[in-house]
Symmetry: C2
């Protein structure tokens, strides 16, 4: 059974307010990674980003920090063009968080993704290659091939999140996750979003998943559960 | 999402002792059905059985009672021949518990199973048609066909329990469960046993399962969890 780390997703404004900082400290037994979403910022601000990383490191020094700029193309709020996206990723990596999220999409050249991964690695930042489908769950073969193409980008962790329309879709996602986890050397994440897919968040370790994303206030993605509950339930599957 | 009832399995000697009775009363918020296993008795004793049903009804009057005589052929301790098995089932039904478990196995004639089901129904006892495989998980087609053959026996609930050897086996069981739950009119139960299969007990409602079996002391089957934990975790999937 794969050991599962818990990432708590936060999406603050340009400043990390006192309340959220205290919540993170208060709940720190229940997560291992803070995922900082910055795509909700109207514009990327390097100084605010740098300051926020510092505040996070002071607030929860034992936790790893993952920074994510999620574009509208992948269900986020970031409207950066592809060129701007590359610039943002470079700026994120330069400040050396523990992880950055780099999106993988069919229309993006794998070579471009690989170049960004290499630059992140140059700064000793680990990379989560991610792909999100908010409308459906591709079939098993397509999902397996998707993970395989992401595997070729040279990242450290591969993440696929899909929207299930039926319980069968949830099983398909978990099957692709498990298959990939025993096939590639990278760590693997697989999420079936929404209430229907909760089992993919709670039982992910059974199927080789290495990280489960939770929240401390409002869910930041459909089906996200409180990290406190996540920690408790993940233990039931040990 | 299927509403899931919790069955607590108990396997007492010929008498229900004070301690177990009190435990059942103490934990009664956490289960809906008591499954009384009687195959551990060296010999079936009709009087002891009748007395035990009465004691159970007095102790937890709001709960339904399911009586199970599990043969060695299906992983239990009951060494009744097939003729004796039929006699025991008839004796069980005569006392009108809410449910009895009737085993389905490839080598038994479906007509014989149907006859027992009809007799139980004559006594207004609902029937769980069950099949257990403690060595492996048949493939998806075989499992679906197994449920279908059980469906033809005219029972009220169909139960299949298998032993998973890999996470894929667990997904296969849950897929067959879900497929059957949307195909037949009976309620359906599907269990992947052991620690690996715990998700099939905890998330069964997502895949159409209607009953999850738990315990109040020692697990009575591999992977059974405490009913208290079961009730709590089943809620996480609502």
């Amino acid at each position: 059974m794969q050991e599962v780390q818990i990432a708590v997703t936060i999406a603050p404004d340009y400043q990390l307010d006192r309340k959220l900082t205290q919540q993170l400290q208060h709940e720190q037994a229940h997560f291992d990674i803070v995922e900082l979403r910055i795509d909700q910022w109207p514009d990327f601000n390097e100084e605010a980003y740098q300051q926020m990383l510092e505040t996070l490191r002071e607030a929860v020094p034992e936790k790893e920090v993952l920074v994510t700029y999620r574009t509208t193309r992948q269900g986020g709020q970031g409207d950066a063009s592809e060129t701007e996206y590359g610039q943002i990723i470079r700026a994120l990596a330069k400040q050396q968080p523990d992880f950055i999220d780099i999106e993988f999409d069919a229309h993006v050249s794998p070579t471009d993704v690989q170049m960004l991964v290499n630059e992140a690695h140059h700064h000793r930042v680990k990379v989560i290659i991610s792909h999100h489908n908010f409308t459906e769950t591709p079939n098993l073969e397509t999902l397996r091939f998707l993970y395989y193409k992401m595997h070729q980008c040279g990242g450290d962790i591969l993440k696929v999140a899909v929207m299930p329309r039926s319980p069968e879709d949830v099983l398909t996602l978990m099957s692709a996750l498990h298959h990939t986890s025993v096939t590639v050397s990278e760590q693997v994440i697989g999420i079936a979003m929404g209430d229907l897919g909760k089992v993919s968040r709670l039982a992910t370790g059974v199927f080789g998943g290495s990280i489960s994303y939770g929240c401390i206030e409002e869910p930041q993605a459909p089906g996200q559960v409180q990290v406190k509950d996540l920690r408790r339930v993940l233990k039931d599957y040990r």
